[in-house]
């Protein structure tokens, strides 16, 4: 496996990016749980998606690794492009859901005349 060759950094600078991911996830979840405006909830979902993509891209970065495309030989550390492929797929999926979600918001606004989740409550009990 590649990561046995690569030295993982334990200092703060090496992990700062992961802290940013954690902060973004928490911010997104906070906005989804507390906001009343549908658009703000959609923004929360989009931020959540982006932070997960950010996390995937981070996983693809190993210090001192070279892309596998160059075939550096056994002694060089190589990095698989899998996380990048995953990220591309996840971006496409997030785009589709965001577009669908916003179009639903438009239709909901047309029917209910409001963006406030507390007033969109016909399905109860």
């Amino acid at each position: 496996m590649t990561d046995s060759i690569v030295k993982t950094t334990s200092d703060f600078a090496g992990n700062a990016a992961y802290v940013v991911v954690a902060l973004l996830v928490i911010m997104a979840l906070y906005s989804i749980l507390t906001q009343k405006n549908l658009i703000k909830i959609c923004i929360g979902i989009a931020v959540l998606g982006s932070s997960v993509n950010f996390f995937l891209v981070l996983l693809g970065y190993r210090q001192g690794g070279i892309p596998i495309y160059y075939l550096g030989g056994a002694e060089k550390a190589m990095v698989l492009p899998t996380p990048q492929c995953l990220t591309l797929t996840a971006i496409v999926i997030a785009l589709a859901t965001t577009a669908l979600m916003l179009s639903l918001v438009i239709l909901i606004h047309k029917h209910y005349g409001t963006m406030n989740v507390d007033e969109i409550r016909r399905l109860r009990g």
Partner: protein, 520 residues
């Protein structure tokens, strides 16, 4: 390779091809469109059944997309397990059978049911995509691929829940489901990503062979279990379920039930096959048992007070999912201990898996009956219906069969699976079967109420002109009725060939790993 070695690929290819051919075919007229829809669903069903029979002897089918082995070997001699593969064992094929039958029945039903509405191209495309997603979820052997199929089926179902976009309620239900589902999917991806970061593998078998207990694994397991419990509608996160089930066109609800079963499949697969090192202690088993009991009990309590037929059935779905979580949780307690498995674990799992299949068929049938009532009367409010057994004898008859099966009346199939769950959970704690029996009694009570309100009583004047629904809808319902009756009449055959195999496949996680890694 023979052509039938490629069956696992056809399983997803046929509905996907159908989805993208739909926009062309649907404009060639009604007959062509209907024949195309039923033909493609029938082809999917044939592939599903032949895959299922191929695993009867306990074989695990492994199919690698675009290559012989799932590892990519570089010129330097290093190899990486990166190719996507399908891995179908007894448990997967059980789900594939449920999904393909329910999808076929729902398609037949929809042909007449959706005839009054426009937007057929979109409807058929989304229906095909949802089927492809659900089948892919139960066939895949790759965690990221599982996420992709979850998203395919979810996005298609958002569209189908909001299909009647002139109704504010369906938009609201769709948005609610989308919110829960999207948060769940992103957290699932986060968990999958962290597992990849540590083990460099997304392949379920390869991951299971490398997995060691640790903090990161615990966090990932907690995330995966909670988000898949979200998606299959367990108690604290159940609110989307009655809304979505009530507002979807009925033929789709029948499929939506099995899509949530596919999430349940993911949950059980992760607990039994990938993380047995972490789930053996009993904590996860008890979490599933508690979630199951709460879903069972609160689901049925909320169902009893409902007046709208599809919402009522939606709440019953929560309580039925509870039975399965309870059974598989009890099975998880016994995991890794030969004596416990023999004493109660295997019975619990067989009962739970039997219930998975029962639930897919009788619940689908109940939703189709509710759809037939709505089609004929134009209302979903039980208080406004009455005396319809005279006008709709076939629907009434099939409803009785489904209602008896879901309430666990002997000799119906629901009784057999529930009895196995009672019997095995009693060994763990006597309160569990007591709670399950109370749930069963309340289920019976509420279905007696539905039957009495909708079908019995004096004929109402405004329903004099109501006739039995068209043949296509009856055919869709008949398929599920026949399956329910077959499960009732030949439980031994299904037990020996399907559920026993599926339970053993889940217990033998080394076999699951061997099936993949043996090929290297």
């Amino acid at each position: 390779m023979n052509w039938h070695d490629h069956l696992p690929a056809f399983l997803v290819m046929i509905p996907l091809l159908g989805a993208f051919l739909t926009p062309f075919v649907a404009s060639w007229g009604k007959l062509v469109r209907n024949v195309f829809f039923v033909l493609f669903m029938a082809l999917t069903l044939v592939v599903g059944i032949s895959l299922c029979t191929a695993t009867f002897d306990g074989r695990v089918l492994v199919y690698v997309m675009g290559g012989e082995s799932f590892s990519l070997t570089l010129p330097s001699g290093m190899s990486y397990p990166i190719r996507i593969l399908f891995e179908i064992d007894g448990f997967g094929s059980l789900l594939i059978l449920c999904i393909s039958i329910a999808a076929f029945a729902g398609a037949l039903f929809s042909i007449n049911y959706m005839d009054r509405f426009s937007g057929w191209k979109r409807f058929m495309s989304l229906y095909f995509l949802m089927t492809a997603g659900a089948l892919g979820m139960s066939a895949t052997g790759d965690l990221f691929n599982f996420f992709v199929f979850v998203e395919i089926s979810s996005i298609a179902s958002f569209g189908l829940i909001a299909f009647w976009r002139d109704k504010p309620e369906s938009l609201e239900a769709s948005f609610k489901y989308m919110l829960i589902s999207q948060v769940a999917a992103m957290l699932l991806l986060l968990a999958i990503g962290s597992l990849y970061g540590k083990y460099n593998a997304l392949n379920m078998g390869a991951l299971a062979s490398m997995l060691r207990a640790g903090t990161l694994e615990r966090i990932s397991l907690a995330l995966i279990v909670s988000v898949l419990a979200f998606k299959c509608g367990a108690f604290p996160m159940h609110t989307w379920m009655p809304d979505a089930y009530a507002e979807t066109p009925s033929g789709v609800t029948c499929l939506l039930v099995t899509v949530s079963q596919a999430s349940f499949y993911g949950l059980i697969r992760v607990c039994y096959s990938i993380f047995p090192a972490l789930t053996q202690g009993g904590t996860v088993g008890w979490i599933l048992i508690v979630l199951g009991c709460m879903s069972m009990f609160f689901g049925v309590l909320m169902a009893v007070v409902q007046h709208e037929i599809k919402r009522l059935m939606g709440y019953h779905s929560i309580s039925q999912v509870g039975y399965m979580l309870l059974a598989l949780g009890v099975g998880l307690l016994a995991l890794g201990n030969r004596n416990d498995i023999a004493a109660y674990g295997l019975t619990a799992m067989k009962g739970g898996l039997f219930h998975v299949m029962n639930y897919s068929f009788y619940k689908g049938l109940l939703f189709l009956c509710a759809g037939a009532l709505y089609y004929a009367t134009g209302t979903r409010d039980l208080d406004k219906m009455g005396g319809l057994a005279r006008n709709m004898p076939w629907t009434a008859g099939m409803f009785v069969i489904a209602a008896a099966a879901i309430s666990g009346l002997p000799p119906f199939n629901g009784f057999v699976s529930k009895w196995m769950i009672y019997e095995s959970s009693f060994v763990v704690h006597p309160l569990l079967p007591a709670l399950a029996m109370i749930t069963s009694v309340l289920t019976l009570a509420s279905f007696v109420k539905v039957f009495q309100a909708a079908f019995l009583g004096p004929a109402k004047e405004k329903f004099v002109a109501v006739r039995e629904v068209p043949y296509g809808m009856l055919a869709g319902m008949a398929i599920l009725t026949v399956m329910t009756l077959l499960l009732t009449l030949f439980p031994g055959w299904f037990m020996g060939n399907l559920f026993e195999n599926a339970a053993r496949a889940l217990l033998d996680h080394q076999g699951y790993i061997r099936a993949v890694m043996g090929g290297i």
